[in-house]
Structures are given as C-alpha cells and as structure tokens.
Symmetry: D2
C-alpha cells in the first residue's frame, strides 16, 4: 500500500462503526471508481462546512441563509416547549413523527457512567435563560432509554433545578416500543406500559 | 442411528426453536448421561400432567389442590380488572412487575395476519360474562407490540364490543422500552413516548 | 411454576445450547401437547439405553444385535486405517462423504488449553494394540481445526509415539473449506491451500 | 439536511457495506470534526490517483516510480508461476503468508451464476502470452471456495484451454480452514481434507 492509501485507511477507520478491513475496502472502492467521482466526493467533503453551519441557538447542523436554523427561526413554533436531544439524528427522528411543534436543543453527546463524555451544559443553561423570557414552560429531556441516557437526564435535572419553580422538566414516556414482546420485557418497561395503558 | 434415536431426534425437532442438528445433539447428550438421569427426565415428563393442570377459569398452567389456580382463587385480587395475555410466560413477566393485582386470561396464542392461529375466544367471552357479575370494569388487552399482537387485539375489540357500555377495553401503553434509542425508533413509538411524557 | 415444572426446566437447561428461557419454553410446549405425546417422549428417553449401546471397541453409540457396532463388525472395512474423532456426530459427517472405508475410534471429547476435558486415552491405546495385530498402518487424527482440536492432536501424538516406527500418524489436510473467502483467510489456511494445490 | 449533506450521504451509501443510516452517521461525524480534518480527507481522496496507479501487467494498485508494480518488476520472483486472484485484498492476503514467490494477475471481479460480473479476460490472455515467453509453467486459479469463485474458475479453465499443453492450471487445495469443525463441514470439504491428509 502507498502512503496515501494507508493514510486514507486510517482516516476511514475513525468513521463511526468502521473497522480496519472495511476501511481498506473503502480505499479500494475509491481506486476502482473514476477520477471524477473521487473529485466530486472530495469537493463535497470540503464544501460541507461552507454549506452547513451549526445553529448558535440549538446547535443543530443546518444550511441556508439567516442567523438561525429554520426551526429556531420559525415563529409558528411553540415557545413554551424545549426538547433536549443527544444528537441531530434524534432530532430528525422526532421531526418525522410530525407531533412535536416546539423548539430543540442538541446536547452533542451523552455522559457515560464512567464519567466520560461531554455535553453542552453551559450552552443549554444560556438557552433556557433566553427562552424563559419568551415563555418557556416545559423542558422535555428526550434521551434514549439506556443507562447513559438516564445518567445524562439525571445530570440535567440537577443542573436545571433552579428553574423548576417556573418550568416543568419532563422525560419521554416508557412503554412497549414497536416490536416489543411481553415475554422478553423487563419489569420497568411492563410497569410503565401498565400504568400508561389506554382505552382503545 | 437406531430407530429410537431417530424417533427421539424427530420429537426434539418439534420443540420450539430446535433444528435437526441441535435435536441430534440432545440425543447424544442423553446417551452420554447416566441411565438414572434419563429415567428421572422421563419421569418428570410423564408426571407433568399429573402435577400441573390448566385452570378452568384463566387457562394458565398451575399445580396445587383446589379447583382453580392460585390467582383465580385469590380473594384479595381486584375483580374489576381482567388482563388478557397470549401465553403463560407473558403472565409471569407481568407478575414479576408486582404492579398488577387483577385477574388474568390466557388466550393460548395469537392470530396471524395470514388468518392462522387459534385463540380461546369463546372461553374468553364466558369468562367475561362470569366476571361481569363479580364487578369487572376493565379488560386490559396485554398483547405484544407486534403486527400479530395488534391483529389479535383488533379481533378481541370486535368480539368484546357488546360489553363496551359497561366495561372499558384498554391496551398497554406505548413508549420507549428499556434499551430503546431515539435514532432507531419508529414514529409510532416516538409519538406515544412524547404524548406519555412525564414530569420527572 | 410447580415443582415438577421447575425440575424439568433445570433438566432442559443442561441440554447443549439451551438457556433458562428456552428451557421454560420447552416445558410449556410439553404442557400444550397431548398426554400421549408426552408419554411417547418419556418412553423414547427411557428406552434409549435399552436400544442403543456403546460399542466396546470404537465407543460409538449404535443399536442392533451382536457384540460390536456395524462398522467394527464389518469385515470389508480396511483394517490398515483407524480414524480418531471427537464425537459420534463427527464420525457421521465422515461417513456421509463415502470416501472413508477404514475403522473409527471415538475420543468422547477434546482437551482444552486450560487443561480441562477428558478423552479415552487408555482405551485408544488398547484399541491400537489390538488393531496393530490386525494390520493397522495409519492412525488419522481427524480433529477440528480449532485450538482445542490441535491441542488434543498434540497430546495424542505424544501418547502414540511408541507406535510411530510401525504406524503413520496423519492429520486431516488444511486448505479452503467450502465457503471460505481468500480475503478473510489466515496465513495458515492460505499456505496449506497453496501447498495442496491441485491440477484442475 | 442540506443539499451537500444529502449528496454526501448518497456518495457514502455507494461505499461497500454501508447503508443509509451509517452513511448519515458518516456525514454527521464529518460535521463534528474540524475543518482541517475534512480538508485533509478531501486531499487524500483527490490525491489517491496521483499517488496510486494500476500496474499495466498485473492490474494491482500500487504506488512508486517505474513502469510496473514492485512484484512485476521484481527479477527475483519465479517467472514459472502466475497466480490469478479476484482483487487486491486477496493478493495481499497471499503475500502475508510469505510462501508464494511467483507473479500475480488481478481479475477485478468474479462472474456470478446469474451471468453478471466482469473480469479481465482479454488482459489475462495477453499476460499469459507474454509470460509464456518468460518461462510460465503454472497458472494458479486462486479464487474463493464459493459458488461464484468456482464459476469464475470454470470460465477461466475454458478460456485457458489452448495453453494446457504447455502450462499446468491448478486451483488452491481444499481442506479444513482454521476454525472449521468437523460436525459442521460438508462432504466436499471433508473428502478433500481426508485425501490431503498429512503425516504429522
């Protein structure tokens, strides 16, 4: 392998979920494609930052003109609601439900039980301060139902304590996810599903 | 292989989740154990029916004296609640939550979208008729969040329509199961999780 | 669960590859079948030893009359060849190839690197002593290409050293197994495949 | 998502083994890294072709000066041997064994049973013509032990028929790959392992 190939293999190894063998296949895939295809890919990677910005209010990545992302700039959105998510993909999953019309804040990560991980804590507090003046009534901690998600929610509840007199802190409801079978469910999921049962 | 071995392989192949190869391994495992071990196993299988009965009211398998299973016979249980489950293992998963104190009914299966599967429909209706006189107020359709579970719930709702004036029909709440990540969740799960969100 | 059910769950948990949950499903499966089906299964398990014996020469399980299993009793088999296998299933896999016409010896296990596992070492030596008088020329150590298989072969080579002047000790050929892809193969497999290459 | 992001997601989806969800994660990963990191990656992709060439003789990718890749240019290599492989990664796997000192030819693919796939057939014939004058005695068809690999070898044998009077055509030896267990092996693998057995 050439130096360039090896450097490229190492660069691809840092991609999420990519091991050394797949990184190597990526490089051979690129070698087998046309020069114009490679040039296009290089351009897209280079232009990514020119075209995509991080919103200074909610920290999601977005593209377009104006100082804020389209949801932060959207005046029809409910200023009483702020949903805190781990990452952009989670925000997009929520948008697809078409049932949420409030604002967002992207934490940029979760805290692990081992004390690792970084989240935008100060930025969240500033955002809450600003949004409070605009009528914020509820902060929804929309984190995954994993130990890391719960650990992060615990930390956020602590940090947000000073606001609890005026703002409700909520978390997503627990219950049966699509595909969940009773036999393989834990007591926490089943208890929540029982309590949240609905007339049907 | 001997005739007995082949017959035994075929018998084990009918066990849930067991293929031909594993069935064969079971037989060699039995051959490698002692004669007394095999005799004990044969006894347990033979005695199963002597020791375990199906409750005539809820259709769960149980052992002990008396005409009914211990939960049907338990006078402290809430007669206003009847939970309909697919199978014994689901009932046991619910019992482990220690949050449900009503009665049960075991359907014995689910209906598939292809129109297959058998459930104890007539037996359920008889059970509801009887329990109505004892104060039944709610039937909880506690089926898995799978297409078959939902299809079965649909059928039960139809069959139970005549009772809806006096009895609520409910289903388990949807939301995030333990381990669920937002990014990989479908819109139905996320919408339910959003609607069922809780102060925390 | 009743006592009988719990005992049966524990018995099934000792079956190869069966966990607690599947063991439980087995018991509910048996409860859901007919009493006559259970009686048949119990009979088969009980009769297993009456019907199936362990050959005193090669230690395979077999059924039928006579003092030896059909391959040990088969006079048309090549007495110059003795194949040593770990277990009955391996022997059956070899028989299916229809390319081997010699005799067998079933070790009954492999030795682990951690020094665990038991094999029929003394019985093998006795068998070799007997077969030597009948013209044994080669012992094929037909063990799996795993670290345990190789460790067991190493031990057997040591134990069989006194016979090496008159008897060849061989091991199965290495190379590409059906389905093997070059890219994912280790150097040992590829080297052997290269050395064993064939005109085609 | 912006246009650039969506185009980049589509570009990554064409990478081997990458689905839409992982392609999206790649893009967010790039957004989260620094601009200089992205610029480096874009450079490496752009420079790939400048730095890496395809050898006109064996069609492997290589870097360096001179008209041919280092193995084609290596005068100490055995000109009597030519190994035909599917792709560069297979060639590298063979090199790692350090047991092969002949020349190579990279087919650039395999033929599927459905009649799809393209291989460098004409280029191979030209290469064989040239190498024949340099003393070529054996062509090793080093393809995977899969149905596609065998189908491709069949085609190559047909195409190479005119040379068979002077050149041996061989294929890699079959047998137990590292990790193969007897119980789970097919008859073809076991027969070959038996035939290729070795004194040990």
């Amino acid at each position: 392998m050439s130096d360039t190939m090896e450097k490229l293999v190492h660069a691809f190894e840092r991609f999420p979920g990519v091991g050394p063998r797949q990184a190597q296949r990526f490089v051979y895939h690129l070698l087998a494609t046309s020069a114009s295809h490679r040039a296009t890919l290089a351009h897209l990677i280079n232009d990514l930052a020119r075209d995509v910005h991080q919103c200074p209010t909610c920290f999601r990545f977005w593209s377009g003109k104006g100082a804020h992302c389209f949801s932060c700039a959207d005046r029809t959105r409910d200023t009483a609601l702020l949903m805190v998510v781990e990452k952009d993909q989670d925000l997009e999953a929520i948008e697809k439900t078409q049932t949420y019309r409030g604002h967002y804040f992207v934490l940029g990560g979760v805290l692990t039980l081992a004390g690792k991980g970084a989240i935008r804590e100060q930025e969240l507090l500033r955002s809450v301060d600003t949004r409070r003046k605009e009528g914020l009534k509820e902060i929804i901690l929309a984190l995954s139902a994993t130990s890391e998600g719960e650990h992060t929610a615990d930390r956020l509840r602590e940090v947000l304590k000073p606001y609890r007199d005026h703002i409700r802190i909520t978390t997503l409801g627990r219950g049966l996810s699509t595909g969940t079978e009773l036999e393989y469910s834990d007591a926490e999921t089943l208890s929540a599903a029982l309590i949240n049962r609905k007339e049907s």
